[in-house]
């Protein structure tokens, strides 16, 4: 199955500048790893060494937070949209 992965601005240089990429996979993790296989810099920015997602990122599948589903094992159907979202943060410090 092929899903559309929306790439946040900060990660676009890692995929050649694209805002969206198509990725094959039956789960969120498979789709993101497929993007990482095609663009290794993306993989290093998105995944920890143990394969988990970087803590500063959230992933949404068709608008639903994957952390509240099955995480990287969340199934994705044909035409699903996977949104990779870095945490927007800051403050007076």
């Amino acid at each position: 199955m092929t899903a559309t992965v929306r790439i946040p601005t900060i990660l676009r240089p890692a995929v050649g500048g694209d805002a969206e990429v198509e990725a094959a996979g039956s789960t969120v993790g498979e789709a993101l790893r497929a993007v990482g296989d095609a663009h290794p810099p993306f993989a290093s920015l998105v995944f920890e060494r143990d394969g988990s997602l970087k803590r500063y990122l959230a992933v949404f599948v068709d608008g639903r937070d994957a952390r509240h589903l099955r995480g990287l094992d969340t199934p994705v159907g044909p035409g699903a949209e996977i949104l990779v979202l870095p945490a927007a943060s800051g403050g007076a410090g």
């Binding site: 946040p8 945490a87 927007a88 800051g90 403050g91």
Partner: protein, 134 residues
């Protein structure tokens, strides 16, 4: 950056209501680039010195804006005790060079609103122009 009076008043009101914690949210702009809606979003840090937008609120704002033919144009947050200038963590946390970073300073007698572009660690202030619209 240009912002409607309603959006300006709403973002300031949210930051005042969130004090002493930092308030935060996003601004939606129409095709003309004018920020026309403030979207208050929960601060998952619940802190007086930091903010992190609740990701679920962020995504709702994104999809709602796109469904309405708008786009997210700015992130805002407050400095409840300090001046409205970007802190090192504001600069480090800036993710979207296309966004304005609006900071509401609540440390003075009246709220002070300033806006900045932050790209690659470089900070450039831009004027906040309030547009009066019916």
């Amino acid at each position: 950056m240009e912002i409607t009076r309603q959006a300006y008043d709403d973002l300031v009101a949210h930051c005042i209501a969130a004090a002493p914690e930092e308030g935060c949210g996003l601004l939606e702009a129409g095709p003309d680039g004018v920020a026309m809606r403030a979207r208050p979003i929960g601060n998952v840090d619940a802190s007086p010195v930091s903010y992190t937008l609740d990701p679920a609120g962020h995504v709702r704002a994104l999809y709602d804006a796109e469904a309405a033919g708008r786009h997210l144009s700015a992130v805002f947050h407050s400095h409840p005790q300090g001046p409205p200038v970007p802190s090192p963590s504001d600069v480090a946390g800036a993710l979207e060079p296309e966004w304005a970073h609006v900071i509401v300073g609540l440390g003075g007698e009246a709220p002070e609103v300033r806006a900045f572009r932050i790209e690659g660690g470089a900070v450039t202030e831009e004027a906040v122009v309030v547009v009066e619209r019916v």
